[in-house]
């Protein structure tokens, strides 16, 4: 493959969803076939290109697309192991979620607008994953905010608009802080490429104050999207969005963009060394630990399935932040692998919640009694996700927690182990009753609203196949990611590869 073609690949990956998205905007509502075709063609092209890049990168090829942007900061799209991990995750989950969304939205109005923004949102996510420096990252980070907003308010009800306002207030405020942080670092050194180990070592002595402020600005700004307490207020409210949007928001797009940004800032901008010297990790660690416990406690109080899942996301994303803030290689492996694992498990859980809502109009936990008898496959997927969140082996979540625990011991922060155990117990406390209800509760004589989607009989025809297939697919992936963690193809193996370069001496 010639280098020019190779260098265009990152751009093509962004365009593979951007262009179909723009065309979809122009389609009429009734051009359903063409819209579905464009969506799926975009997904397939993106998956193929991602596959090519993964093979290429493991053979030592580099992919790097550069255009001039602002003075001292080009717009760079490039691939390293970390960005590929995120691109891979978002491509796979986009595939599943597109299918799910086509089934979910069925005959509802404004689907062209929905799928248009949906594609823009994924384009922004992969762009953000492949951004090669802070300035490019900032660009896609802001675009992501703008692309997700119409999805959050898609229903257009007063409730949705209220959630949309809150969402914007939080994310644009956070975005402004990120902008300030990026600009501050840019004045100090320009915006060089992300490098493992960071590029600010030389400045620590000279500008400790400026660097500290930049770190605080960046992490606070990114923390809004990563939903670190007390910046998490938008996330539970954003639950009014349609289920595929919530799934995407929680698993890859918004929340992960914040977590991914924090990983980039800590490892590839500042570097573990300067963060330690400036003593910036400890407050972040405390914030993450507090978030894990607080959000789990809030989850215990919820009565709606989606709200419960939202607080669970707040808590689970902070596992990633915790792993990053521990600043040790093993903990970092745990953080990176949890980025993928949490995505797979949480997307499964949201699909399940969507299935319950669409098929039986079950939104509240108390209506879930005996739902396993009516929708056994969905409930099985829900069980896999929930047990994974608690950290039961061999599901993916266990692997992340294991590495996080080991990592905490490695750097001598033993108290973190207590937090992990406590949060795990709390997870069990809010998920196990739900599982109990679902499997062993007495099914009601009539469901709140049985729509008979897909046939309406338990088993393969328990709901529309387009809702069921993605659910089972991601549930299987969460299981496989845990079972096959020891092999070379797992997210864990990839995370270890990334960490090997990040912590190289």
């Amino acid at each position: 493959m010639s280098q020019t073609v190779a260098n265009a690949l990152p751009l093509l990956i962004v365009l593979s969803s951007l262009l179909p998205g723009l065309v979809i905007f122009a389609l009429r509502e009734d051009q359903q076939g063409l819209r579905t075709f464009l969506n799926l063609a975009g997904v397939v092209v993106k998956l193929v290109l991602t596959g090519v890049m993964i093979v290429g990168v493991s053979h030592g090829l580099s992919f790097r697309f550069v255009v001039p942007f602002i003075p001292g900061g080009d717009l760079i799209l490039q691939t390293d192991a970390l960005s590929l991990q995120f691109v891979g995750l978002s491509s796979v989950l986009w595939l599943a979620t597109t299918l799910y969304a086509i089934g979910y939205l069925g005959g509802s109005p404004l689907r062209s607008r929905f799928f248009g923004y949906f594609s823009l949102c994924v384009s922004a996510t992969v762009g953000l994953a492949m951004a090669g420096n802070l300035v490019s990252f900032l660009l896609f980070y802001e675009l992501l905010t703008l692309a997700t907003f119409p999805l959050v308010v898609h229903r257009g009800t007063p409730d949705a608009l209220r959630a949309g306002r809150v969402y914007l207030a939080y994310t644009l405020g956070g975005g402004t802080l990120v902008l300030m942080g990026v600009a501050l670092l840019h004045t100090l050194t320009g915006s060089p490429d992300f490098v493992p180990g960071g590029y600010l070592k030389a400045l620590v002595e000279q500008h400790p104050f400026s660097l500290t402020l930049a770190f605080v600005l960046l992490v606070t700004g990114l923390g809004v999207k990563a939903a670190i307490v007390p910046l998490h207020g938008w996330l539970p409210r954003a639950m009014v969005a349609p289920a595929p949007v919530s799934a995407l928001l929680h698993a890859v797009a918004v929340v992960k963009a914040g977590a991914f940004g924090i990983i980039r800032v800590v490892y590839d901008v500042f570097g573990a060394g300067p963060v330690q010297v400036l003593d910036l990790a400890q407050p972040l660690l405390w914030a993450a630990a507090a978030t894990m416990v607080y959000a789990s406690l809030r989850a215990l109080q919820q009565r709606e399935i989606k709200k419960l899942l939202a607080y669970s996301t707040v808590s689970q994303v902070s596992y990633i932040i915790l792993g990053v803030a521990l600043l040790g290689p093993i903990a970092a492996t745990g953080a990176l692998v949890h980025l993928v694992h949490q995505g797979l498990m949480k997307v499964t859980l949201f699909y399940c919640a969507g299935n319950f809502a669409e098929s039986l109009h079950v939104h509240r936990l108390r209506d879930m009694n005996g739902i396993g008898q009516r929708m056994p496959l969905t409930m099985a997927a829900f069980t896999v996700g929930a047990l994974g969140m608690i950290g039961v082996p061999p599901i993916a979540g266990f692997i992340s927690k294991w590495y996080l625990g080991l990592g905490a011991l490695e750097v001598g922060q033993d108290w973190v182990l207590l937090v992990l155990v406590g949060s795990g117990l709390l997870n069990a406390a809010y998920f196990l009753p739900v599982l109990y209800r679902g499997w062993f509760g007495r099914a009601p004589d009539a469901w709140p609203g049985d729509t008979q989607l897909g046939g309406g009989t338990p088993g393969w025809r328990e709901t529309h196949w387009m809702l069921l297939a993605p659910t089972l697919f991601t549930a299987t992936l969460s299981l496989l990611a845990g079972v096959l963690a020891g092999t070379g193809f797992s997210p864990l193996a990839w995370a270890q590869l990334i960490i090997a370069t990040e912590f190289a001496p």
Binding site: P71, L138, G156, L161, T176, H186, T187
Partner: protein
């Protein structure tokens, strides 16, 4: 220089032609704007290649002559003026809601174009007085096109504009009496920081700030801009308030002794921060759509004031770039916003902001234009507003002592996000959408989107833009 003169004389000739022939056809004006645009592009190319050029009107030499100067900034502004006139004239002719077909809009807008071009090229104080006067009178006449409801704001605009011109003229007379010349370059050589110069500069600055609607002298702007026909509002916000700003910039960066600039700078910059805050606040609470957009002009001028004030205070040349980037980005974004707002309020049948409920469904393209242009006002990447803010932030962040100014920019960003998204969120309301009174006009909506797209991608051509603007720093 010849090309720059063509760019100036074409609209002037067109204005006279239309007045004499009593024709009110828009096609002629579009043609002349296009010629002017092409000539301006040629002038820009020439000035980048060969550097600044002079022209002596009437062939006299320095102290007697009236001189025109073409520098990269003025060439860029010529292009900008012609481009916006072209866009707006297409809208004014083609849109069903423009209220300007077959009116006096056409000769007046040509005259406005010519006086702005003359302003960008002039280089002496009295010439500027003439162009300012012309600009003010033409602008007032254009506001009155929308009929009796605009008479009161137009009259107020006229009176304030005349008072402002008077202040400016007093300053000019003082300087002429003191130094005996009017040419800016000659004055710059002679100027000393004595009481007469101070007084003259203070008077001229007051007059110009009033004309440029700098906070707190902005009160005439929102009613005048909001009551004018849509095409006129776009021209007024995008171009007319930038004329006095140009003079102010040259007065202070070339004529005024540096120590005076250092004293006056912080005052102007603080007024800029206050403009961002109070202008933004008024926009947040404005009941009518066009008033909201007009108040956002007041707020956005705050960025330009900050750039100008800090430029004077620190004498840092990169702030010139920030200042003119703000002007260009704001101009394009405002054209888009006013055209979109005008289309939406005419189609949906009310002037109030609330009428936009459900506008993403009923008028998706106009609403998209409004949102994209709003993104530039907020300063989201990769828009022109972002680029300008980025260049402005650089010197602010360099030293911890300057960080409070950066906080001002931060507040400005949040305020503008507030008023832009106040409108955008409303437009997603599907529960109670406003039904359009007429079939939405697609062409006009796309026309509104065009400048928004231009400004949206402006950071991607930042390299040449900044090069041209730095070439123009005096």
């Amino acid at each position: 220089m010849t090309l720059a003169l063509i760019s100036l004389l074409t609209p002037l000739a067109m204005a006279l032609l239309l007045l004499l022939s009593r024709s009110r056809s828009g096609w002629w004006v579009m043609g002349s704007s296009l010629v002017s645009l092409i000539a301006a592009l040629g002038a820009l190319h020439g000035v980048i290649q060969d550097g600044a050029q002079w022209m002596h009107l009437g062939g006299w030499d320095a102290p007697l002559a009236i001189r025109f100067r073409l520098m990269p900034v003025s060439a860029l502004l010529l292009v900008f003026t012609a481009l916006i006139h072209l866009l707006v004239s297409v809208y004014a002719e083609r849109s069903r809601h423009s209220q300007t077909q077959r009116t006096d809009y056409w000769p007046l807008s040509s005259l406005l174009h010519a006086s702005l071009a003359a302003l960008w090229l002039s280089h002496d104080l009295f010439n500027w007085y003439i162009t300012l006067e012309l600009l003010g009178l033409v602008a007032v006449a254009m506001v009155t096109i929308s009929g009796a409801k605009a008479y009161v704001p137009a009259l107020r605009y006229l009176l304030l504009s005349l008072v402002a011109s008077l202040f400016y003229l007093l300053g000019v007379v003082l300087l002429y009496g003191h130094y005996g010349v009017l040419d800016l370059a000659l004055l710059a050589d002679a100027a000393k920081a004595d009481p007469t110069t101070r007084l003259a500069l203070a008077l001229m600055t007051l007059g110009l700030m009033l004309k440029a609607a700098f906070w707190p002298l902005h009160l005439w702007l929102p009613p005048a801009h909001a009551s004018a026909p849509t095409a006129v509002s776009a021209l007024l916000s995008a171009l007319v308030v930038k004329g006095p700003l140009f003079i102010l910039w040259l007065l202070w960066s070339e004529l005024a002794p540096a120590e005076l600039g250092q004293e006056a700078g912080p005052v102007i910059a603080v007024a800029g921060v206050l403009a961002l805050i109070f202008g933004g606040w008024s926009a947040l609470r404005a009941p009518y759509l066009k008033t909201l957009v007009a108040y956002s002009t007041v707020a956005q001028l705050g960025y330009a004031m900050m750039a100008l004030g800090l430029l004077l205070h620190w004498q840092r040349p990169e702030l010139h770039v920030a200042l003119w980037l703000f002007v260009l980005a704001h101009g394009l974004a405002k054209v888009s916003m006013f055209l979109a707002a005008g289309e939406m309020q005419a189609t949906l049948g009310s002037k109030s902001v609330g009428v936009l409920k459900g506008a993403t469904q009923t008028m998706p393209i106009a609403m998209f234009a409004f949102a994209v242009a709003g993104g530039s006002l907020i300063g989201l990447p990769p828009s022109g507003g972002f680029l300008a803010k980025w260049v402005l932030l650089r010197p602010l962040l360099l030293e911890p002592a300057h960080w409070p100014w950066a906080a001002g920019v931060l507040i400005g960003t949040l305020m503008s996000a507030g008023y832009v998204f106040r409108v955008v969120v409303l437009s997603f309301d599907r529960a109670h959408p406003t039904r359009p009174d007429h079939r939405p006009d697609l062409f006009a909506q796309w026309l509104a989107l065009l400048p928004a797209l231009l400004v949206w991608g402006m950071a991607l051509i930042s390299d040449p833009l900044i090069l041209w603007l730095t070439g123009g720093a005096p």
